[in-house]
Symmetry: C2
Subunit: 451 residues, 2 copies
C-alpha cells in the first residue's frame, strides 16, 4: 500500500487535480491521498493558505474579512467549475463562512482553524470529484480518524502517541480511496491544531507510518531532488537515491524538499519516500531510503545556508579549567539559545548559533554572563556566517575530498572561517562569510560534480 | 633584571656548571639563578632525580637504600671534586642522609622530600662554588623565602597567592647572586611539595613574575625551539619568536619545551621567555612573547601527539533535542573525564578524550549512561587517534593553508578522520590514525616549510 501526498502546485487548478486523480487511479496500491491547499497557478499568484491567513488576520484585526474570504471561495469555485462539480460549492462556502465567522477566545486557535480550511476544502473537493467520476472515494476527517496533536511548550504541534494506533484502523478500509487533508489535526478537546508551514508532508508521513505503507510518495513539481539548488546551477545533477541521514544534513543547510519533521515517522519505520513529479509521473523521482542500493556520485549533495552567528571565546589555559565547557553551554541553555556547533581550539571555543534566535538582547545578556561567570574578557561575535555542507555517504572513507573542496574554495579566494569534519562520516562543513554562500556552493559543485 | 633557569644537562657535571657560572657572571642583569638536579652526562646515564626516586622507593619498599643513595652522593662528589670544592660535601652528604632516613607517616610526602634534594643540593653546590670563586652569591631556601604550595584535589601542586608577595621581597637583595633550587616549595606546614617532573621551569617562572623580571631566561641544550620535532626532520626550521598562545597550542600536541604550567605566571605579567643554549650562549635562542615583532614563516610550528580516543554518537534528529549536548557533557564531567574537543555534525557528535584518562572501566560506565540516559544506541569508540596541529599566527587570514595541508595529507594517502579549524585563529587540527602521526607531521612540514 502506498501513501500519496500531493503538494500545493498539484492542487492549484482543475487540470492539476485531474492529473492527481489519474496518478492515484493508475496504481491500485495508492489507497490514501493526502492533499495540500491549492498553490500558485502562476508565478505571481497567491496560495490559498496565504489568502486564508489574510482572512484570519482581518478578522483578528477587527476589519471586514469578506473581501479576503471571497478570494478563497473564488479559487475553489474556479476549480469546481472546471471539474464540473459545482454541486460541491455550497457545502464548501458554508464551511468557510462558518469557520471564518465563528466565535473565538484565543487568537492562535482561531488562526489555526482558518488556516486548516485550505487543505480541508481540497480534500472534500477531490473526494467529491472522484466519487462523481464513479470511483469509490471518501473524505477523511482528521478529527474523526483520531489524528491527535498537542502544543509543546514552544507552541509547536507534536503528535500524540495514540494517533498512530487510531490511524492504523484505516487499514481496514480497503475498498475505498481515502482523501485526507494535510497540515492539521485536532487536540483532545477537538480544537484544530496546524503543523508549521509545509506540514502536509508530516500528515502523509504519519499516515505512512501508521498504515505500514510500502512507500510514501510525495508528489511535487520537479522530477528529482537535485545535488545542488537548481537556482544556482543550470541542469544540476539529479539525486536518484539518498538516505534519510544525508537528507537531514542537506536540509540543515537549506535544502527545502520535505518539511524538516516529515521524515521522522517514516524514518522510524524504515519506509522509503519517493519524491515524484505530478507533471511527469513516469520520471522515477528521488528515493529517500534507510540504506542505499547504489551511488551515482561520490558526493550526494551540496547546500549552503546563511543566518548563523559565531561567538568565539579565548582564555589562556582554558582547556585546563575543568567544567568550563559545561558552564558555558549551561549559560546558553538557560538563555534558551540552541547551540548548532561547537568547534574548539586549545584555549578557545567557538559557539555557532542561528541568528534568528540570537537577538541583540540575548547577545548582550549572554556576553555579560560569560564575562562575569567564566571570567572571560576575550569574546568575539560575528554575525555573518554561512554554513556550506558537502554530504555523501560514499565519501566516508575516501581520502582527498577535503583536500579537493578546500583547494577549490581557496583557489576561488574564499576564506574558510570554520572547517569541521569528523563527527558525521557523511558530511563535511565549511563556515564562510554570508556574502560568499552561493558562490562557495557553486565552486564546490563545479569541483565535485563537473569532474 | 633577568631570571636565569638552567636545566639538568646544564648541571650534569663540573664543566657544565662552570659554563652556567660564566653565563650568569657575564651579564649583571642575571641576578637570580634557578637550578635543576644534575641530568645525564651521557646518553645512558641516570638523572639524579631518578636516582633519588630509587632511594625513596627502596626505603618505602622496606629494603636498604644505601646503595642508591651512594650513587647520588657519588654524582655530587664528582662535581665537587672537579670544581675543587670538596668542602661542600660533608654538608650535602649529611642533608641527603638525614632526609633519606627521616621518619615519615605519608609515603607521598616522603617521596617529595627525597626528590627535592636533587635541586636543593645543586643550588647549595653552585652557591658555594660562586662564593669560593670570589663572587657574592647565596643559596636561597624556598621555605624561608615563602614559596608556598598546596595540593589540589587531584594531588597537583598549586601556588598559593601569597607566594608572589613573599618572593617579591628578594628584589631588595640587589648586591648578591641568588641561587634558588627549582622543582619544589613548601606547604604552610613546612612540608616539602614538588611540582610534577620538569617543574623547575615553574619555579623560574614564578620568580620572574614575582620579581617583575625583564626576561625569563630558560637555559637548555639546544639553540632554538624548532618548527617540528628534530627527531623527525633533519635540520628543522628554527623558531626565533613565538607567542605564548602559539606555544600552548604546540605544547598540547606534544611539543616538549617548557613544563606546561610554566608559562602561566610569566604570561599573566607579559614577561618574555628566552629559551637559550648553555653550550652555545651566543645563539639568540627562541623568544616566547605576548606579541610578535616578526614572522619568519607563515606557519610557526607543526606537532603531533598520540593517545586520543573518539566517542562518536549518532542519533536521528539529535540537533532538535534541546539540551542533548549539555546532558552528554554532564555525563563526562560526572565521570571525571575531561573533554578535549567536540566536533559535531547535524545528528552526530564526536567527543575526543585523552586515552590515559578514558580507562576501560570509565568507558563501559560512560557508554552505559549515554545509552540509558540519552536513549542512544549508535555509539562508536575508536582508541587510536593522533592529533596533528599546524600552528601559526601569521596564517590567521591567509586563504589556502587548509587546502595545502589537506592536499598534502591526501596525496600522501593519509585519511583525515577529523578536521577542525575555526575556533582558534592560530591553528588547525587534524585527527589521523595513530600509526600515521609522525608521517603526517613530516608530510605537513615538507609541504609548509620546504616550499
Amino acid at each position: 500500500m502506498k501513501i500519496t501526498k500531493f503538494g500545493g502546485s498539484s492542487l492549484a487548478n482543475a487540470f492539476q487535480i485531474q492529473k492527481v486523480c489519474n496518478i492515484v487511479l493508475s496504481d491500485e496500491e495508492r489507497r490514501v491521498i493526502v492533499v495540500s491547499a491549492p498553490g500558485k497557478r502562476t508565478k505571481d499568484d497567491i496560495k490559498v493558505t496565504d489568502l486564508l491567513i489574510a482572512v484570519a488576520k482581518a478578522r483578528l484585526g477587527g476589519s471586514s474579512y469578506t473581501a479576503e474570504l471571497d478570494k478563497v471561495i473564488a479559487r475553489y469555485e474556479e476549480i469546481a467549475d472546471e471539474l464540473n462539480i459545482e454541486q460541491v460549492m455550497p457545502d464548501i462556502i458554508e464551511r468557510l463562512n462558518n469557520i471564518a465567522s465563528a466565535d473565538y477566545t484565543d487568537d492562535i486557535k482561531y488562526l489555526d482553524s482558518v488556516k486548516a480550511m485550505g487543505e480541508d476544502c481540497s480534500a472534500r473537493l477531490v473526494a467529491y470529484y472522484l466519487t462523481k467520476e464513479g470511483h469509490k472515494a471518501k473524505y477523511c476527517n482528521p478529527a474523526e480518524c483520531g489524528l491527535y496533536l498537542k502544543h509543546d511548550e514552544a507552541g509547536k504541534a507534536v503528535i500524540l502517541d495514540e494517533t498512530y494506533d487510531n490511524l492504523a484502523k484505516l487499514k481496514d478500509e480497503t475498498d475505498i480511496l481515502l482523501v485526507f487533508p494535510g497540515f492539521y489535526g485536532v487536540s483532545k478537546e477537538n480544537e484544530i491544531i496546524t503543523f508549521s508551514r509545509g506540514g502536509s508532508d508530516i500528515t502523509g508521513s504519519i499516515l505512512a507510518a501508521a498504515l505500514d505503507a510500502e512507500v510514501y510518495e510525495n508528489w511535487t513539481d520537479v522530477d528529482n531532488v537535485y545535488a545542488v539548488n537548481p537556482s544556482l546551477v543550470k541542469n544540476p545533477f539529479p539525486i536518484t537515491e539518498i538516505t534519510y541521514d544525508e537528507m537531514r544534513e542537506l536540509a540543515y543547510a537549506g535544502f527545502q524538499v520535505l518539511h524538516e519533521e516529515a521524515l521522522y515517522p517514516v524514518y522510524i519505520k524504515g519506509i522509503p519516500v519517493n519524491i515524484k513529479n505530478t507533471n511527469n509521473p513516469v520520471a522515477k523521482g528521488t528515493w529517500i531510503v534507510s540504506n542505499r542500493t547504489h551511488y551515482d556520485s561520490l558526493v550526494t549533495g551540496i547546500a549552503g545556508d546563511k543566518g548563523f552567528c559565531t561567538i568565539t571565546i579565548n582564555k589562556y589555559m582554558m582547556n585546563r579549567q575543568v567544567g568550563f565547557l559545561l558552564k558555558l553551554l549551561g549559560i546558553f541553555a538557560e538563555e534558551g539559545i540552541s547551540i548548532e556547533h561547537l568547534p574548539s581550539g586549545i584555549d578557545s571555543v567557538t559557539i555557532i548559533v542561528r541568528k534568528k534566535y540570537f537577538t541583540p538582547e540575548k547577545e548582550g545578556k549572554i556576553i555579560a554572563r560569560i564575562q562575569h561567570e567564566l571570567d572571560c574578557t576575550d569574546i568575539k561575535v560575528e554575525h555573518d556566517l554561512a554554513i556550506v555542507m558537502i554530504v555523501g555517504e560514499a565519501m566516508a572513507n575516501s581520502v582527498g575530498i577535503m583536500a579537493r573542496a578546500a583547494s577549490a574554495l581557496s583557489n576561488a579566494g574564499i576564506n574558510l572561517r570554520i572547517v569541521n569534519q569528523g563527527a558525521s562520516e557523511i558530511s563535511m562543513m565549511f563556515g564562510v562569510a554570508e556574502s560568499y554562500c552561493s558562490y562557495a556552493v557553486k565552486v564546490l559543485y563545479k569541483e565535485l560534480f563537473r569532474y
